[in-house]
Symmetry: C2
Subunit: 147 residues, 2 copies
Amino acid sequence: MGLFSKTCEYAIRGIFFIARKTAGGGRVSIKDIAAAIDSPEPFLAKILQDLSRRGIVQSTKGPNGGFYFDKDSLKRPLAEIVEAVDGNGLFIGCGVGLKQCSEINPCPLHNEFKNIRNQIQHLLEKTSIGEFTGDINLGIISFSIGN
Amino acid sequence: MGLFSKTCEYAIRGIFFIARKTAGGGRVSIKDIAAAIDSPEPFLAKILQDLSRRGIVQSTKGPNGGFYFDKDSLKRPLAEIVEAVDGNGLFIGCGVGLKQCSEINPCPLHNEFKNIRNQIQHLLEKTSIGEFTGDINLGIISFSIGN
DNA sequence: TATAAAAAAGATAAAAAACTCTTTTAATAT
DNA sequence: ATATTAAAAGAGTTTTTTATCTTTTTTATA
């Protein structure tokens, strides 16, 4: 098990790709996204459908349709995607699921886990989707962009 | 989704309890463990069975039987339990599951995730089961010990 | 040695996550 | 208007995770 569910991984990889690919305008189809990020196409479709319904990513149907981000969406933090897909279990609650664990009555690893989870949350909150659009990410981002 | 699978959470909570409860000798039964850590008894039985087969926890059958830790087992790091149950996905690989991601060709969050995952691994490696036995944990650990 | 206690083993069931397929709707262009 | 393109919606299926139940084996002790 990694940090995220597979669904969430597909979602994040998907938005990485959409952001990069449509940085200069235009849209990108599920087919292209799925191929680029190595995910099952119909499954990814469902995931993006959901994110689209939530307004996290934009989409249009028909010829030249596809997925893209509007200006506002580019400002959203990655945390919103993670929360939408996996919930907030990564950020809150006891690290080992102890009901009785709390600030006043912490489990043996409470503070250590809290620290780490705060870091995860902070990272995902401070990182916006827009950070994956620019040329500055061309060498960093691992997709080849083609045309 | 939290950091660990439910199975792994039960395992960790279980060993917390066994360590604490048998610190002064003796054994503790699945029934008692399950009740204390709020887990389904037969499921926990399977989990401990597995850990027992791996030699991570000790057990004996029959009257006054149950689970306990021998000296060596108390030295084991928590990481071994996590790896046995959830694998090493929390520690290694790309945080978002990108095949192409590596040190030379890192994904946009590679280094940030690496840092966090290293911290998780370090925490779990440096923490041994034996740390959950002593009186020093009585106020910290959230189980009530009874008799 | 018989009985009881407790874990091990095996087989099954239920729920959730991951994934697929088919039909419908919306947008565009001819 | 019609045809085409591409996402949305809906209805499955498969796999994995979580959980249960029953039988067997081992150990202690009366």
